[in-house]
């Protein structure tokens, strides 16, 4: 085998390994929507909404978070305004936020819902 051919093979092998690392590094966070529940900036639950088959609830910081197949929302909140309850289901770019109790429902990894963020 020619020396140049050997060099090509070695370089190609390195590129394959590099590609493998790149694929791992850039791995998308799964195809389904993931709901992350934050309390005061700390993650308290991460739920793959595609694996939810029946409705269940979680008590977080005085609020009640409801998970159902493909969805998450603030079912109940002990704060006076209840704004977060009226926000309905969280979606990508539209987190549900309870400022008084510092609870946040954030969706990632779901299909495009039209906006990447809400201003205002």
């Amino acid at each position: 085998m020619k020396r140049s051919t050997v060099i090509y093979i070695i370089v190609f092998a390195f590129m394959l390994i590099g590609c493998g690392i790149l694929v791992l590094a850039s791995d998308h966070n799964g195809s389904g929507a993931t709901a992350t529940v934050y309390l005061d900036g700390e993650i308290v639950a991460v739920v793959d909404l595609n694996t939810v088959t029946e409705t269940w609830t979680l008590a977080v910081g005085g609020n009640t978070v409801e998970f159902s197949p493909g969805h998450v929302r603030m079912l109940d909140a002990c704060c006076p305004d209840g704004l977060c309850v009226r926000q309905g289901y969280a979606s990508a770019g539209k987190p549900v936020i309870c400022l008084p109790n510092r609870v946040m429902l954030v969706i990632s990894g779901s299909a495009d819902t039209g906006v990447d963020a809400i201003a205002g």
């Binding site: 020619k2 140049s4 051919t5 090509y8 370089v11 190609f12 590129m15 394959l16 590099g18 590609c19 790149l22 694929v23 791992l24 590094a25 850039s26 791995d27 998308h28 966070n29 992350t36 934050y38 005061d40 900036g41 704004l83 009226r86 926000q87 309905g88 770019g93 539209k94 987190p95 936020i97 400022l99 510092r102 946040m104 954030v106 990632s108 990894g109 039209g114 906006v115 990447d116 963020a117 809400i118 201003a119 205002g120």
Partner: protein, 334 residues
């Protein structure tokens, strides 16, 4: 050998397409609001980059809070004179310049009136016009002295960076993300949005200004890259007393809520601090004066929502603004 070279080059091109994009979203609470950072890039860099962005956020919050007793601003307000850090002095200089450019419709010295209305606490009240004029008589932005890093206020004056701090901080966070190798991200500081670069596929970010009459939705979409989108709206903070609604955007000339027929103003610009300050200023100016101001400045675009459910957009947004809610009529100004 030629064939092998061609094969090698083809493989090189194909392999470069392997680099997709890892996405991470992180939430936090700071500056009395919710923070959301979504960044794309390599799995090895994104987490650390968001850590850096949140660190500069917390650092800015520590310096700029008007209510935190340990902040530089609090110390200045309490003592009337203080030696500021370079960054805080630079922001104060910027705020005073923007106050001057906007003819005082944005004015960080309106803070004593904000306190009088109770917008910094849970005890809301309706101060009378005399009380507000007394508070405004303590001084305006032109009465703040900034010599080097030394700031001096007249007796009774107090400053609040509430109308500029989030826009400024979003810019600083965006720089921290870029320095850490992230070229695609979107930051929201309580709805004060900063787009970093474009989406990973190269298309613009789609930012939706909140619909004042349907708060869980947007009334339109603006497509932006490397840009801030900041909205000031009367729906954001308000209270009702005896059937009257009082919102938090105060007219510095009276100290009372600005009633100009506008419900929200969204400013789109490459400078977050400017966009933040102008969103307040344009709301206070009212539609006609705001449109004239935009024409003379030209370094930003704006979208206005009126009480008549009309959307008025500056002409530079033609082709950028889309997905208009059917609740509204749209017209482009001039």
């Amino acid at each position: 050998m030629k064939r092998l070279s061609v094969l090698f080059l083809t493989l090189c091109i194909l392999l470069t397409g392997c680099a997709g994009s890892y996405c991470e979203t992180r939430a936090a609470f700071a500056m009395d609001t919710d923070i959301l950072v979504t960044a794309y890039g390599s799995r090895f860099t994104v987490g650390g980059a968001i850590d850096r962005a949140l660190a500069v956020l917390n650092e800015a919050d520590t310096r700029l809070s008007a209510v935190d007793t340990g902040s530089e601003l609090y110390r200045l307000n309490e003592t009337g004179a203080a030696e500021l850090s370079d960054a805080t002095a630079a922001l104060l200089a910027r705020a005073l310049t923007l106050a001057d450019v906007t003819g005082g419709t944005f004015d960080p010295t309106v803070y004593p009136c904000v306190q009088a209305w109770g917008f910094t606490s849970t005890d809301k009240r309706v101060p009378d016009a005399d009380e507000l004029l007394t508070l405004r008589a303590y001084g305006s932005y032109s009465d703040v002295t900034l010599d080097g890093n030394t700031a001096v206020l007249r007796t009774g004056m107090a400053l609040d960076f509430g109308g500029i701090a989030k826009g400024y901080t979003a810019d600083v966070m965006a720089n921290a993300l870029r320095d850490a190798g992230v070229t695609s991200a979107v930051i929201s500081l309580g709805g004060n949005v900063r787009a970093v670069g474009s989406k990973p596929d190269g298309s613009p970010w789609r930012i939706g200004p909140r619909n004042p009459y349907s708060l869980d939705a947007s009334f339109a979409v603006v497509q932006v890259m490397d840009c801030s989108v900041v909205t000031s709206g009367s729906y954001q903070r308000y209270f009702e007393r005896d059937g009257v609604t009082y919102h938090h955007i105060l007219d510095p000339s009276t100290g009372a809520p600005a009633r100009t027929g506008l419900v929200s103003v969204t400013v789109i610009g490459s400078d977050g601090a400017l966009a933040d300050a102008y969103a307040t200023a344009l709301f206070v100016m009212g539609l006609d004066d705001a449109l004239k101001f935009q024409k003379t400045q030209g370094d930003f675009e704006a979208v206005f929502v009126t009480e008549n459910r009309e959307i008025v957009a500056t002409s530079g947004l033609a082709g950028v603004l889309s997905d208009i809610s059917s609740d509204y009529t749209l017209r482009y100004a001039g």
